[in-house]
């Protein structure tokens, strides 16, 4: 028998429910509004009163309306067909909704149950298996999609039956397992999992030990993110957060990408909807959309579902990680999620923390970031979830609760600077404020030195130092005037400009420049450092700036040319000539 109750209070989307029986924290319930069932989640219980946040508009809801509790937490459906789908925050398929407007109480199936998949068994009868063990596989596009023992299965099982290779629908039984007591349990290709609980079923979660390539130089070269690592991008509006995230989504070397558009502009999501099915994934040559799932809860969609959307996205990532895949989660923007938490905490009349955010904001954020990571599966394979979130700090001020809490949780920090955006130095990632903690990991340093070249990390640190010194010189020049400082100041300043223009700045809209391979990044940084290692003997500061402007121009033309093409080599020759000519 399901627990039932009646509505006793309503403030915006928070309802209080007097219930009979028992309810659980985070249990899902449905409020009946003249026959339309509105989904809600219990967020607090006092005595026989439950507080629930409704995932829809509560207009017209009355005191006394019936509520039915569902007996489980917010769950999503996991199975083949998740990729290239577009969902709302509660995993309703947006593409199969008919009306142009989102209708209240309209919940659509996340997966197509009529589609047939080519199944190949992996496990054999008699195999000992447990939660997340691979039973078989289907091809989801080009990706081997593993059919696993459901994550909710506890203890060990023996495979009693496995379906023969062939075509099956997601709800067909593809295996029968026997538990310790000898009882048989059927397994299909789909399973459900509560989004707020981290998916387990792996052997261990080591420290990240290798890097994830994004093709963005200011990330890969200067502040690399580890596979299974976490990073965040804070920045005022108009600094290019979304462009940077889209660039990463388009070109990073992940197998699966989940993009959570959380409380942001609908037209930005439309851009993904329209472009990704056309764009080519540079790593596989397949359509970008084939490796992408979009979770879209734009700013005008119900606030409570905004909070759910990031969890839904993370759960899908963990599901693919358990298949031994490299998954990237991008969430834009986690500030909107935090604001959703604030709205609810406010309605519950909780004592507020800083800026009226709930006091446990910090722990909620770090708990979420901790779900990322590289894992060793029980079968020895590895899988990973790398997470990059954006943060939209109020007033562009990085000393606000969401940015500060995220800074504690994420290991990479890509600060977008208004000044860089104003002077059109894109991506506007500040080279000095930003950091990657992974550079300090000995295992990552070793990985970089092996993967790119010996001594790479030292080269990176040197480039960072050049930028720092250049900034100091620029300040001196501004105060004292061009003539008021020694010419060596100009030289140091221009060396940092060289690093800035050639390595840091990158045109996300240029086909060639937008994505730089590690090999090419190594080549460019080495070449730039050759110029920076030289000492020059300029007569005047004009001579100095003219020399470097000319050099920067050749380097930039090279950046726009295809790697090792004829054009590329001709610019390289130009640059080599400048190098051997000395000051002239």
């Amino acid at each position: 028998m399901k627990t039932t109750g009646v509505v006793t209070g309503i403030i915006s989307n928070l309802v209080t429910i007097a219930f009979e029986g028992h309810v659980a924290e985070n249990e899902i319930c449905y409020v009946d509004l003249n026959g339309v069932k509105l989904m809600a989640e219990v967020i607090k219980v006092t005595g026989k009163n439950a507080f629930a946040q409704v995932f829809e508009s509560t207009r017209g809801l009355k005191q006394g309306d019936r509520v039915e509790f569902d007996g489980h937490m917010l769950e999503i459906t996991l199975g083949p067909g998740l990729l290239s789908s577009s969902y709302d925050g509660l995993q309703n398929n947006l593409a199969t909704m008919e009306d142009i407007f989102l209708k209240r109480g309209e919940y659509t199936a996340p997966l197509d149950s009529s589609k047939e998949w080519d199944f190949t068994p992996i496990a054999a009868v008699g195999d000992k298996v447990s939660a997340a063990s691979w039973l078989g596989e289907v091809k989801e596009g080009w990706l081997p999609h593993k059919i696993m023992v459901p994550f909710s299965f506890k203890g060990s099982y023996t495979v009693a039956k496995v379906a023969a290779a062939g075509k099956y629908r997601i709800d067909d039984t593809i295996a029968v397992l026997k538990d310790a007591k000898g009882e048989e349990v059927p397994v299909t290709m789909v399973q459900k999992w509560p989004v707020k609980v981290a998916v387990g079923g792996y052997k261990e979660k080591p420290r990240p030990y290798r890097i994830m390539e994004t093709g963005v130089r200011t990330i890969d070269t200067l502040n690399p993110i580890a596979e299974g690592g976490t990073g965040f991008i804070p920045g005022p509006f108009g600094c290019g957060k979304t462009v940077l995230q889209h660039a990463i989504a388009k070109q990073c070397d992940a197998d699966v990408i989940v993009m959570a558009a959380c409380g942001e502009r609908a037209n930005e999501v439309v851009e993904i909807f329209k472009e990704f099915p056309e764009l080519i994934d540079p790593n596989t040559g397949r359509k970008l959309m084939e490796r992408t799932t979009i979770i879209c809860n734009t700013s005008n969609m119900p606030v409570a579902a905004r909070e759910a959307s990031v969890y839904t996205a993370m759960t899908i990532c963990e599901y693919y990680r358990a298949m031994g895949l490299k998954v990237l989660l991008l969430a834009d923007s986690t500030s909107r999620w935090a604001q959703a938490l604030r709205e609810m905490s406010n309605r519950m009349e909780e004592l507020p923390g800083a800026d009226a955010f709930p006091v446990d904001l910090s722990s909620i954020i770090s708990n979420f970031y901790s779900r990322a990571g590289i894992v060793t599966l029980n079968n020895g394979k590895t899988g990973s979830v790398t997470f990059i979130g954006t943060v939209s700090p109020a007033g562009g001020n990085l000393k606000e609760p969401v940015t500060e809490s995220t800074k504690k949780a994420a290991r990479c920090f890509y600060a977008l600077a208004q000044g860089r955006a104003d002077s059109k130095r894109y991506p506007a990632v500040d080279p000095l404020d930003s950091y990657s903690k992974y550079l300090e990991y000995p295992e990552i340093a070793e990985c970089l030195n092996n993967l790119i070249c010996p001594g790479w990390v030292d080269m990176v640190l040197k480039a960072k130092n050049l930028v720092r010194r250049g900034k100091e010189m620029a300040e001196q020049i501004n105060i004292l005037g061009d003539d008021g400082v020694p010419i060596t100041y100009h030289e140091t300043f221009w060396k940092s400009e060289l690093v800035d223009f050639v390595i840091l700045q990158q045109d996300a809209f240029d086909e060639i420049d937008s994505r730089t391979s590690l090999e090419r990044q190594k080549f460019m940084l080495s070449l730039v450092l050759e110029f920076c290692d030289k000492t020059y003997d300029f007569e005047t500061f004009e001579e100095c700036s003219a020399y470097f402007k000319n050099l920067i121009n050749s380097f930039r033309q090279m950046n726009f040319s295809e790697w090792q093409s004829e054009k590329f080599n001709s610019y390289l020759t130009q640059i080599r000539n400048i190098l051997s000519d000395g000051n002239n």
Partner: protein, 440 residues
């Protein structure tokens, strides 16, 4: 909006009164429903057991504890139909032009959002004749963009100009806290342009209570959705002034004892504003809603919660500023941005558009640097001097809001000014375009 209902339930005992709300004991009341409290319109904002709290739009001055409260049983609505065109309404959707009530289908205001998957990518140019907009910050139908302006800037005039020049089927004005003078200005501007048949106005003036303003955007957008979705028309929505709207939100949340967040604004400000701005849409059927709003600033401060949240929601902003060198009001090329401009530039406009735009703004930036040098007492180079002269001409002939020319002419003007002050190389424009368009 309906004001009679045969089954209306009536109560006569108030339990609490604040400046914006009243509370009473009542049964079977639904969330968001309307009521009349002592002859004034009110809406249910909170239900707690038997206790119901209503927000009284026109304020609670003089309401006695034995005031009559009559519930309607439904949320605010608007009658939509072709008859809306050419009419003026108050915040409740009641005619204020002396005309008859509008016949049509009753629609609840503040309706659901468009499924993002069903949206079309905006791609139609909206020319305005103002180069600061068309050249540097091109508008696209389905876009939402505010003017950021100090209260002393002529933002309402600019907005009226933009609206009247734009090629759209309907213009719907939502005036919130509009001064009576400005209201009459809009009315007169629309009349003298002979555009009244495509104008619809919902107006709350400063003479009327501030909380009433909260209804205006939803009224306006319900009418806009009718024309865009049902009739596939191109609709331009003007909302002025959204800062005063947010102030009204602040008043209500304060009276309801909500904990304020930054700048004493309610914590839900972002969602509240997004719900309005995200109604801007390009529909697959060809209909569209474009929103141009005004957000007044306090001394150019864009870090205040209202412009800050707005900037995160809208697709750019148009920044009005008085140019001290020329005395003209200009659209600031540095702080203004149209996020959708690349969807139409060089595609719906001439091939040299984006390059000319970038070059002209970059040279204008060089002029600012030269100006700083001059102010700090450093010597100016020949290039600096030319930049300063260029900046003056650029401001007067292109950035000023009183410019009204087609886009091709803006581009030609820019080339002409480039040729006057700079060498070809100094513009940094692609060779092939220079060969084609350079004016010596």
């Amino acid at each position: 909006m309906a004001t009679t209902n045969a089954f209306a339930r009536t109560y006569t005992q108030l339990e609490a009164i604040t400046k914006a709300t009243v509370s009473l004991r009542a049964q079977g009341i639904s969330n968001d429903e309307l009521a009349i409290v002592d002859g004034r319109l009110a809406q249910v904002v909170k239900i707690k057991g038997d206790s119901v709290t209503l927000q009284v739009f026109s304020g609670t001055e003089g309401i006695p504890t034995d005031a009559e409260v009559r519930f309607f049983g439904e949320a605010p609505s608007l009658n939509v139909g072709e008859g809306l065109a050419g009419r003026f309404f108050n915040a409740y959707g009641e005619p204020i032009d002396g005309g008859p009530k509008v016949e049509g289908e009753k629609r609840f205001i503040g309706g659901p959002s468009v499924n993002p998957y069903k949206r079309e990518q905006p791609s139609q140019l909206i020319p305005t004749g103002i180069a600061g907009i068309d050249l540097n910050n091109t508008l696209v139908s389905g876009q939402k963009i505010p003017f950021f302006a100090d209260p002393d800037q002529p933002y309402n005039q600019v907005m009226a100009q933009v609206a009247l020049r734009a090629d759209v089927d309907k213009i719907i004005l939502g005036g919130m806290g509009l001064s009576n003078d400005d209201y009459l200005y809009f009315k007169q501007a629309f009349e003298s342009a002979g555009a009244l048949d495509k104008i619809i106005c919902f107006v709350n003036t400063t003479e009327q209570p501030p909380v009433e303003r909260l209804l205006i955007p939803d009224m306006v957008l319900t009418a806009a959705e009718y024309f865009a979705v049902d009739r596939n028309e191109k609709v331009l929505v003007l909302l002025t002034d959204m800062t005063l709207y947010a102030d009204a939100l602040c008043i209500v949340s304060n009276r309801m004892d909500q904990i304020p967040s930054k700048d004493s604004m309610p914590g839900s400000l972002y969602s509240d504003l997004a719900k309005i701005y995200e109604k801007a849409v390009q529909l697959p059927s060809g209909g569209s809603i474009t929103i141009i709003a005004v957000t007044t600033l306090n001394d150019g401060d864009i870090t205040h919660a209202i412009p800050d949240n707005t900037g995160y929601i809208t697709e750019g902003q148009l920044f009005l500023r008085q140019d001290t060198d020329t005395g003209k009001v200009i659209i600031d090329p540095f702080r203004s941005l149209s996020r959708l401009k690349q969807l139409v530039q060089n595609k719906k406009t001439r091939e040299d558009h984006s390059q000319v735009m970038n070059a002209s703004v970059r040279l204008y930036a060089d002029a600012q640097n030269a100006k700083t040098k001059l102010e700090n007492g450093f010597d100016l180079s020949d290039y600096d001097m030319r930049c300063l002269d260029y900046a003056k001409e650029y401001a007067v002939r292109l950035l000023a809001i009183d410019v009204n020319i087609p886009i091709e002419e803006m581009l030609d003007t820019a080339w002409e000014i480039f040729g006057k002050y700079f060498s070809k190389a100094e513009t940094g424009i692609k060779e092939s375009l220079i060969e084609k368009y350079w004016k010596a």
